[in-house]
Amino acid sequence: MTSGDLPAPAPPARLGRQVHWAQLASRYAMLGFFAALVVVLIVASPTFRDPANLLNILQQNSIIGIVACGMLLMIIVGGFDLSVGAVGAASSCAAAAVFVPLGIVPGVIAALMVGLSVGLLNGVLIAKIGINPFVTTLGTQVLVTGLLFIATNATPIYGLPEGFTFIGLGRIGPLPVAFLIFSGVVVVTLVILRFTRFGHYIYAVGGSRDASRLAGINVDRVTIAVYGFGGLFAAIAGLVLLGQTNIGQPASASTWPLSAIAAVVVGGVPLTGGVGGVAGAVLGTLLLGTVANALNLLSVSPYWQPAITGLVILLAVGLDSYQRKRSGGE
């Protein structure tokens, strides 16, 4: 459903239904780039077009995708979150620690609680105290990681119930469970942004805090809630991670924040806030994920992979931005 959602006039500039054409064009530029890439790969590599592989791509990128959805909300409201990695690691460790004695459900609840509370803490520090998102989330990231190391001595937590890998690696029919969870998160994000007053206010606050406040919108509450969702989604991602590795890894997930922000921004969402749609986050995630998969399948030397990835990012976004600029979009 997600990719089918792309061409639909999701509101990157909150123009209600009808999208300003520059935005539309640019969205299509990125979409076109992605489509072209996929087509080339399908033609070039039999392994790539193997459905099993395509499903792998979906499963492998579900984690970052879930994080990216939360990141999208925080970017639209005018911030971002560097603590999602720490939250992911912490929540998966919390889950693992609780699983072993108490079983699945309490474990899941523990994880979600960890994510939600760190997220809300971020929100309060940003909205009420007025610390900027960068310092706030960098601080909580360091803090949470630290507490995690204290709690675990930096050693992984082993001994989880076999069954739990279902979340991370299991399938329902042909579809990876992780991907279904991702899809669920995408739908939730979509509904929030498109159909709820809260979502509308996320755009408003991101577009202009002052105007929103003067219109009687409770800017602080919106901000705090958004970071709450960010933390919650990171925790869900942490659970999926746990489901893939089956061990609680304190040192894991450290690359999530940059990867998730990258996914959103590559998807054409500016960091300035006030605009953007879930389509962008999904598109960016899949684009980066497909590139990584392709590089592996084509056995590109690991020494070359970063360089090529960098080039692809710059190329894709460059194309996008340049045309956006020409069409006076920004």
Binding site: G207, S212, A215, G216
Partner: protein, 515 residues
């Protein structure tokens, strides 16, 4: 000297709609409201006037709940209320049109009109975008205001932004409506329509606070007038008891020189300082015009008539076709940078978006354009020179408070406009294009500014002045060019226009189009 009838309600009589008592407000830099009393009755249009920096907007922001840290009591129909936040003020039925707008640029006009009171959708917490668009469009129509409901506000001109604010505020059916210089950026037609609306609301018992620097308008609509000076009330009188000169003198504390056309100044013959031939901003009719050094050409027109577009195209900020000649030579500007290098500067109409560097100080803003010239040597800023220019401009343009090291965003609207003017005048330009240069500037300073313009014209600077204030054009311009829907008449000598004639010329085409 405070009129008892205006403020203290006599016992027995119903308490006033709104009573503000002994309002004080200070900023880091000091107190700016020194115990202001202000009373508003039901169905009253109460004009609030005063020089730039007098405290009008601050007082109204207190009323709007923007400054909960004020002191003094506010009571609504006798009941004391706490204005702890804008939300609280709105809940009390107080709607404010702020001088520097409160719009979300990325949102459509419709979204902005409905901001904070979006229609519910199917399920709790949901929103119906369809209903929202329909309702906003209908609300604008009901007020007879024509705004592009679907457009993002960020791409609108100031006038359209202003109209959006008006619809937004009027559609909240508030008990108290505050309008902070709503007409500063409107052309005559919109003003009249706005005044009709105000009178209608007044019939409905709404209390309206109306702030303006066009004193004629005050007498047109206001029942009651309160004059602020330096954060104190100097008078509260029924409008009927005042006339223009007396009101002006109450404001500035001295009588005003009557503004006259000047007759002695001579336009210099010879090669035009700036000439455009068959020149047209992208997808607009083409315009031709030649301006001599020392000449002042006025551009008159309705909102949307294409004056701003033309101006932005001339300095290369919007794409254009046709020829542009500077002092006889071709000048293909790719950007305002080229124009500035050729001595052609545009003073933008939107001081917040395109004009000022808000986080910077008054000094930085004033010296910004001049830096490329006399203010720097080998890339280094000549700080002494800079200081001197800045203090001179602060003094010449009567910027209040006269503190060059203030962040410019802490200045009053009118004073910000003065900084913008000062910056353009401080740079050694040969052609100045001023788009709505005196918007929000008080009468006293306007006279001053006109003097400055004429002085520079004497020194051979050529001016294009875009203004919705017809009197301004008639007073300043040597020739006036009327624009309609992007097309332009032949420029004619200003003397050949009567005020009525000019107004007719501006609106004519529109009627024909309507037919």
């Amino acid at each position: 000297m405070i009129d008892p009838v205006g403020t203290t309600a006599s016992p027995g009589a119903a308490p006033p709609l709104l009573a503000m008592r002994q309002i004080r407000k200070s900023f880091a830099a000091g107190e700016v409201l020194h115990g202001v009393d202000f009373t508003l009755e039901r169905g009253q249009i109460h004009a609030l006037v005063g020089q730039n920096g007098a405290g009008k907007s601050t007082l109204m922001k207190v009323l709007g709940g923007v400054y909960p840290d004020h002191s003094g009591e506010v009571s609504l129909e006798g009941q004391p209320i706490r204005l702890s936040s804008p939300g609280a003020a709105l809940d009390h039925g107080i709607a404010v049109i702020y001088q520097d707008f409160a719009l979300v640029p990325a949102f459509s006009v419709a979204d902005n009109i409905a901001l904070g009171r979006e229609p519910r959708g199917g399920f709790p917490g949901s929103i119906s975008h369809r209903a929202l668009r329909a309702r906003s469009a209908q609300e604008a129509a009901a007020l007879g205001i024509d705004v592009p409901v679907g457009q993002p506000v960020g791409r609108l001109g100031v006038a359209e932004q202003q109209l959006t604010e008006v619809v937004k505020a009027l559609s909240r059916n508030a008990r108290i409506l505050v309008m902070d210089e709503p007409t500063a950026r409107l052309s005559p037609a919109e003003r009249d329509r706005l005044f009709d609306t105000m009178r209608r609301l007044k019939q409905g018992g709404v209390g309206i606070v109306y702030i303006s620097h066009f004193l004629e308008e005050v007498f047109l609509v206001a029942d009651q007038v309160t004059v602020l000076r330096d954060g104190n009330v100097v008078a509260t009188r029924p409008a009927a008891e005042l006339d223009l000169p007396s009101l002006a003198s109450l404001m500035v504390g001295s009588t005003l020189a009557v503004l006259q056309r000047e007759t002695d100044r001579r336009v210099r013959p010879g090669t035009a300082a700036l000439e455009i031939r068959d020149f047209s901003p992208a997808r607009r009719p083409s315009v031709s015009l030649a301006i001599q050094p020392g000449e002042i050409v006025g551009l008159a027109g309705l909102v949307g008539s294409g004056r701003t577009r033309l101006a932005r195209a001339i300095v290369g900020d919007l794409p254009s076709t046709g020829d542009r000649l500077v002092r006889g030579g071709p000048a293909p500007f790719r950007s305002p940078v080229d124009a500035a290098a050729a001595g052609i500067l545009l003073l933008p109409e939107d001081r917040k978006r395109d004009g000022l560097v808000l986080p910077s100080t008054v000094a930085s803003n004033l010296s910004l354009t001049a830096l490329r010239g006399a203010l720097s040597r080998r890339g280094f800023v000549r700080r002494g020179e800079r200081r001197r220019l800045v203090t001179d401009l602060v003094e010449r343009f009567r910027i209040l408070p006269p503190d060059p090291d203030r962040p410019v965003k802490t200045l009053s609207g009118g004073n910000q406009q003065k900084v913008l003017m000062g910056r353009a005048f401080g740079a050694r330009a040969s052609v100045l294009i001023l788009d709505q240069p005196t918007a929000g500037v008080d009468v006293g300073v306007k006279a001053e500014l006109y003097g400055q313009v004429r002085e520079m014209a004497r020194d051979g600077v050529a001016f294009i002045i875009i203004s919705d204030d017809l009197d301004e054009l008639l007073l300043l311009a040597d020739r006036i060019m009327v624009m309609r829907a992007g097309a332009a008449d032949q420029p004619r000598p200003a003397e050949s226009f009567s005020r009525a004639g000019l107004l007719e010329a501006i609106t004519r085409q529109v009627h024909e189009v309507a037919v």
